[in-house]
Symmetry: C2
Subunit: 118 residues, 2 copies
C-alpha cells in the first residue's frame, strides 16, 4: 500500500549497501513532472504518475514493466539517460511502463568466498 | 578474456572483475544440450542452440532478448533457476530467446571515491 511519508534513502533496507535511484519524467527529454524512486514501485499511479515520457537512471540497474505489479513486458534500465520510449525498447509493442523494481545483483563470488571457478 | 587464476572475493572491489555466468538448456527442467555463456551472445544459433528451454543463472544479472543482436522483447535473468519459459516472462507474447548480454551494474556510490560495497 502507498504510504504518505517517505523513509529517507539512507534508512531504507537495501539489498546491498549502495542505493538505487531512478527518476521518472512524465514528458520526453526529462521535462514535466518527475518522481524519484529508490526502491520497488508496483504502481506508478500511486504517485500520480500517469505517463512515463523519459527516464534518468542515477544508479541501477532497474527493470520496468508494462503492467502494474511487475507484470507484462520488461524493460531493462541501466545507469544513463532514456529521453524517449524508443530508447528503452525496440520491440514497439508497448510504450507503457507501469511498475519498477531494482534488479538483484548476485554474483557467484559474492556468496562463495574463495571458491575457484572453472 | 577469461583468466585461470581467480582473485579471492575478499580482495575483489570492482564489479568488472567478477565473472558472469549463465547456462542455457535446450529443454525444460535443465535437460538436453546446454551451453554456458560468460559474456554477450548476439545470436545463440552461433553455438548451435536452436531453442531455449530452461536457464540457470550462476552469476548475473543478464538480459535475454527475443531477437538476435539484442533486439525485441527483453527478459531479465537474475541469479537463480528458470525451469520453463513462463518462469522468465508472464507477457505471453513470445517464448523465444535469441540473444543475451550481462547487465551493467553502476551505482551512484561506485563512482564516488573510497566507497566500498559490503
Amino acid at each position: 500500500m502507498a504510504t504518505d511519508h517517505q523513509t529517507p534513502a539512507s534508512k531504507q533496507q537495501q539489498p546491498s549497501t549502495v542505493a538505487f535511484k531512478i527518476v521518472i519524467y512524465e514528458q520526453e527529454n526529462f521535462q514535466g513532472r518527475c518522481h524519484e524512486l529508490t526502491g520497488p514501485c508496483p504502481d506508478l499511479r500511486e504517485f500520480g504518475v500517469e505517463k512515463v515520457g523519459s527516464i534518468l537512471v542515477q544508479s541501477g540497474p532497474w527493470v520496468g514493466y508494462e503492467q502494474s505489479s511487475c507484470k507484462g513486458e520488461q524493460f531493462v534500465f541501466e545507469k544513463g539517460e532514456y529521453p524517449r520510449w524508443d530508447s528503452w525498447t525496440n520491440s514497439r509493442r508497448s510504450d507503457t511502463v507501469s511498475s519498477f523494481r531494482p534488479i538483484k545483483v548476485v554474483r557467484t563470488s559474492d556468496r562463495r568466498a574463495g571458491v575457484k571457478e572453472g
